[in-house]
Each structure stands twice: as structure tokens, then as C-alpha cells.
């Protein structure tokens, strides 16, 4: 079975500029890697697998093409882990206010 079918939420990947197409005035660590982008939309192709060249309709209805990168991508940024450097601050300043 294909990874995605027509209408699925899909993310495409594009190389916008290869390193030799990037301007010269960049730090070397930036200049040595390609300039890349990822865009989401709905798959136009009937069926496709990750890595295939595909077309999508973006959220505003534009048609773009690129390499299928992910199907139904999730937002996985989060609230982070509890930070021992932060958790006691509230009580410390409360105590100071009570003293004054």
C-alpha cells in the first residue's frame, strides 16, 4: 500500500539552492550546506510514497511540487521538562515579599 493517497495531508521537501548557488558572503558552515524548505498541503497525486516527486495543494490553494517528506506530519514541540533552575523561584520571592 502506498504511504499516501490523494487528499492526504502531506509535507514536501525542496532544495531551494545547492551550496554552490548560495551567495558567497555566508559563514562557511552555512555556505557548505544546501538551502532547504518544507511546505504542507494536500496530496494531488492518486498514490505516492515518501521520497517520490509529488504535487500538493497548499492551504491557500496553490499547487506546488517537491519530494514527499512526511504524511500527516505532527506538531511535536512541547512544554519541555521541568527545570530545577526555575521551579523554586516563586517560593523564594514570595518569602522575600513576606519579610519586607
Amino acid at each position: 500500500m502506498a504511504d499516501a493517497k490523494r487528499g492526504d495531508l502531506a509535507q514536501i521537501h525542496k532544495i531551494v539552492l545547492e551550496p554552490d548557488q548560495r551567495p558567497d558572503n555566508l559563514p562557511s558552515c552555512t555556505k557548505s550546506v544546501p538551502y532547504e524548505c518544507w511546505i504542507k498541503g494536500f496530496l494531488i497525486d492518486e498514490n505516492a510514497n515518501v521520497g517520490d516527486e509529488v504535487k500538493i495543494t497548499t492551504f491557500i490553494g496553490r499547487e506546488l511540487s517537491g519530494i514527499l517528506y512526511q504524511v500527516s506530519p505532527i506538531y511535536d514541540h512541547n512544554f519541555g521538562e521541568p527545570q530545577k533552575e526555575l521551579v523554586s523561584i516563586g517560593n523564594e520571592v514570595r518569602k522575600q515579599l513576606e519579610k519586607s
Binding site: 531551494v16 539552492l17 548557488q21 548560495r22 551567495p23 555566508l26 559563514p27 558552515c29 552555512t30 550546506v33 544546501p34 538551502y35 532547504e36 524548505c37 518544507w38 511546505i39 504542507k40 498541503g41 497548499t58 492551504f59 491557500i60 490553494g61 496553490r62 506538531y75 511535536d76 514541540h77 512541547n78 512544554f79 519541555g80 521538562e81 521541568p82 527545570q83 533552575e85 526555575l86 523561584i89 516563586g90 523564594e92 520571592v93 514570595r94 522575600q96 515579599l97 519579610k99 519586607s100
Partner: protein, 483 residues
């Protein structure tokens, strides 16, 4: 069409003229001087018009809140009689959660009036979300271009949250890797779509912020019968400083000291793939703040309407750790949980309030919403994953990109003054570098004086110290040939 980097960049002028609806050439007076007020007024919206347009989409009229517990805390560490009153303008109450709605609201209204079908903005921050939100409300399409990932495809949590927000408002989002080619992509997309460039630096974007300074002046006057002594503004590209200062003047507040604050990220390169994820702040930092003061026209339109140096009285830096600590204070003492942008200027306010008398008023002029990715806990988790040391201690031991020191006590929060003399000097020096062989006239000296908030004599002496000859008349000469 040739879409190579250099070919697209060489079409910049025509692309931007069509995409902004502004013929910037009309405002050019010399290679140095342009008609700033003429450009600002070119869209012909009065302050009343702007207020009405913002109200239509629920933007503005945000609450002004006195932070009484925080003020008490500051007084407990101040000399007797000291400890100014700290107020905050709760800009998170805007539709997309930040003051950036003010910037987007007028630009989107204007774009629609001019008949554009959509808008494009390059922003990894709140502005992208604001443009997407306002475009949704006005029925325009929005494309937001964001610098999100390093070459390992590791993204800044705060920016990943902005991708989510923009997509929640229905925008097409381009998530890009690190590089100044964001501008190149913007030009390509503008050319392809014929959409409006909702740049942060067009007159309508800056004009929208005037309402913030105006409201703030009015609200303090109505509550206290006087204008604020200090307005404290998180500074990056200069729009926030410019609009707030202009609005305060329109409200009649001419003596409020305008203070800009940035998080100290000095030493980190903004276009570096490696440094990108060594930052725990994605804006409101010195990496934007300083270059935008010394060269405001470094931006995505021919002339930048956000000109911080014109309006700043003082420019300060605070450390990342001080801002995280302040974020905790605001939540725990005032019951207000907000994102990092406003807390940068709030950290400075804690330090500055100690210098002021008890009856003096400081206003921190923004807050922003907070969410997954934007909390100190997500930022510090990310910092540790990227090899940054995090510990409690004296914030003076902070090293951008290496060590984040969370203060142990509130009296350790101490702003650092950034040398304005040095910034003004490099602004003038940069203006000379950009116009190489051109000989500045008296009119240019006057412009540079206004643009750097100095005097005619100051600029003349600076030019002398740089061995730059000036023309006596307004005639245009070529540097080196005759002066």
C-alpha cells in the same frame, strides 16, 4: 525566467515596487537623505483611521495593568524612597496574542484596499501569526516564510510553535533552513503570486504601532493624571520603538524617556548554521537590535520606516537567564503567564525601577502569548539538548551560546547600557560606506542628525573625524573630485 539567486536579487526593485504599491524613488532626496515623514504619510491614514481599522478586527485597546507585587519586590531591594511603579501593557490580549497584530492589521487592510489577493511576510515570530490571523479575518491569502531549521533539521521550539500558529490561521508556511536567502525566497514568491509584501518595514506596518504608544500615553494619563516617566520597549528591528515613540508624542507625552532593551546574544552570528540553535531567544535580541540601529535600511524594502535610532534615548541589554527568571516572577507574583518578548523589557524594568523614585511610572509596553515551545521550560530543555550549560548564579557570568545563568536573587538583575555613542558613530560611518564616492551636503548632515537623534554639529564633527569632506551648498558632488 531566470530564478538564480543573483538574477532574482537584480529584479528586487521592480518586484518590490509592485508588491508594496510604493514608488520609493519618489522619496529619495540624495543617496543619503530621504523624505521619512513623506514616506510614513504616503498611505494617508490618520491616527483616527488607524484606530478604527484596528478596532474592526478586534486589535488594540489592550489593558494596562499595574504590577503591584513586583513593584513591592523591587522596593524591598531599593534604597529608601526608591522603586518606581511598574505597569505592563497586556498586548497578549490581541487576536493572535501579540502587539504584532497592530502592524499586520493596517497592512492587510491596505493590501485589500489596493486590490491584492494575498500577502507575503517573512517572519519566524509573532508577526507571521499576526499576518495570517488578519488575512483570515479580511479574506486574503497569506504566505509566511520562516527560518526554522538548522541543516540537521533541528528547529527552534519557539519557531515551531509559530509554524503551528500560522497554519492554524490557514496560511501557507515555508519552513526554511538558516540563511539570509529568506529575502530571495520572498522576492520569488512575490513575483510568482503578485501578492502584497506585508514587510515589517513598510509605512503601514510601522503606522499600526503608533496606536500602541498613543493608548499607553492616554491610559497612564487617565489613571494617574500624568504621562509615564519611562516607556520600556523590547527592541529588534526597530518598529516597536519607532511606533511606540511616535504614538506617545501624538498623545502629548513629550518627556517620556524611550528605552530599548534587547537580550544579549553578542558573539553569535545570525547567519550561522551552528549558532542558530545555540540561541534561546529568536528575536528581541542584540543580533537584530544592534545592526538595525546602525543600518536600518538593511531590510526587505528599499527604505525602512522602522528607525529605532531616531527615537531611542537609551538602549540596554539583559541576559537570557534574567528574562527566564523574570518570566517566573510575572507568573508567580502577578498571576500573568506570558511569552518571552515583553519579559525582556520587564527584566530591564525591574533593574530600572530601582533608580526611580516611588511616584515615578515605568511602562513595559508589551506582553505576548505563551504556549508549547515558548515557555522557559521548553527553551531551557532545548538549550541543554544543544550543549548549553544552565545553572543558578550571578547573571554576570552569562556567556551567549555557552552558559545561561538564572539569577539567585532579584537584586542580581542588572541592565547593561549599550554605548549609544558608539552606535551613532557606526550609523554615520555605515551611511558613508554605503554611498562611497558621494559628498554629503548640509541637507544630508541634517538628515543624519535627525536619523541618529543627534545634532548637526555632532554629525559634522563625526564626519570630520572620519576624514569625510562635505559640500557647503546643497549641490551634489562626487567624493574625491571636489568638495
Amino acid at each position: 525566467m531566470d530564478n538564480s539567486y543573483h538574477a532574482v536579487m537584480s529584479r528586487k526593485k521592480e518586484i518590490l515596487k509592485r508588491a508594496t504599491g510604493i514608488d520609493y524613488d519618489k522619496f529619495e532626496i540624495s543617496p543619503i537623505t530621504f523624505d521619512y515623514e513623506g514616506l510614513m504619510n504616503s498611505c494617508e491614514y490618520s491616527l483616527e483611521d488607524v484606530q478604527r481599522i484596528l478596532q474592526e478586527t478586534g486589535v488594540g485597546n489592550t489593558p494596562l495593568v499595574e504590577l503591584k507585587n513586583l513593584t513591592e519586590l523591587v522596593r524591598s531591594i531599593s534604597l529608601p524612597g526608591r522603586g518606581g511603579r511598574i505597569f505592563i501593557k497586556d498586548e497578549a490580549a490581541n487576536p493572535s496574542g501579540s502587539f504584532k497584530d497592530r502592524r499586520a492589521a493596517l497592512s492587510i487592510f491596505h493590501a485589500k484596499k489596493l486590490g491584492y489577493k494575498g500577502v507575503v511576510a517573512a517572519s519566524s515570530g509573532n508577526y507571521g501569526a499576526a499576518v495570517a490571523s488578519q488575512a483570515a479575518k479580511r479574506g486574503l491569502k497569506a504566505i509566511i516564510l520562516q527560518e526554522v531549521y538548522d541543516s540537521r533539521k533541528v528547529g527552534q521550539p519557539e519557531i515551531l510553535e509559530k509554524t503551528r500558529a500560522c497554519e492554524a490561521y490557514g496560511a501557507e508556511v515555508w519552513q526554511l533552513t538558516v540563511g539570509p536567502e529568506l529575502f530571495y525566497i520572498m522576492l520569488r514568491v512575490l513575483e510568482e503570486t503578485e501578492f502584497f509584501s506585508a514587510s515589517l518595514y513598510v509605512p503601514t506596518s510601522v503606522g499600526g504601532i503608533d496606536t500602541l504608544g498613543y493608548e499607553l500615553g492616554e491610559q497612564v494619563f487617565q489613571k494617574e493624571g500624568r504621562f509615564p516617566d519611562m516607556a520600556i520597549i523590547t527592541h529588534a528591528g526597530g518598529g516597536n520603538v519607532t511606533g511606540t515613540a511616535r504614538g506617545l508624542k501624538k498623545a502629548g507625552s513629550h518627556n517620556t524617556i524611550v528605552v530599548g532593551v534587547s537580550v544579549d546574544l553578542q558573539g553569535l552570528h545570525m547567519a550561522s548554521d551552528i549558532d542558530f540553535n545555540r540561541k534561546s531567544f529568536t528575536t528581541g535580541h542584540t543580533g537584530f537590535g544592534i545592526p538595525f540601529l546602525t543600518w536600518p535600511d538593511r531590510t526587505d524594502v528599499p527604505r525602512n520606516c522602522a528607525r529605532g535610532l531616531r527615537y531611542l534615548d537609551r538602549y540596554l541589554s539583559v541576559t537570557q537567564g534574567e528574562v527566564f527568571y523574570t518570566t517566573e516572577l510575572l507568573a508567580k507574583l502577578e498571576g500573568i503567564e506570558r511569552g518571552p518578548a515583553g519579559n525582556t523589557s520587564l527584566a530591564a524594568a525591574i533593574s530600572l525601577a530601582r533608580e526611580l523614585d516611588r511616584d515615578q511610572i515605568l511602562v513595559v509596553q508589551e506582553t505576548e502569548y505563551t504556549a508549547a515551545g515558548k515557555l522557559p521550560s521548553s527553551q531551557l530543555t532545548f538549550a541543554k539538548e544543544n550543549g548549553i550549560e544552565v545553572r543558578r548564579g550571578d547573571p554576570k557570568e552569562n556567556i551567549p551560546g555557552k552558559v545561561i545563568v538564572i539569577p539567585e536573587r532579584v537584586d542580581q538583575i542588572e541592565v547593561e547600557d549599550i554605548d549609544m555613542e558608539k552606535i551613532r558613530h557606526s550609523y554615520i560611518e555605515r551611511a558613508m560606506k554605503m554611498t562611497e564616492s558621494y559628498v554629503p551636503t548640509q541637507e544630508d548632515i541634517q538628515f543624519l542628525a535627525e536619523d541618529s537623534k543627534t545634532s548637526f554639529d555632532y554629525v559634522r564633527e563625526t564626519l570630520e573625524s572620519l576624514n569625510i569632506k562635505t559640500a557647503n551648498s546643497a549641490s551634489r558632488l562626487v567624493r574625491g573630485r571636489e568638495a
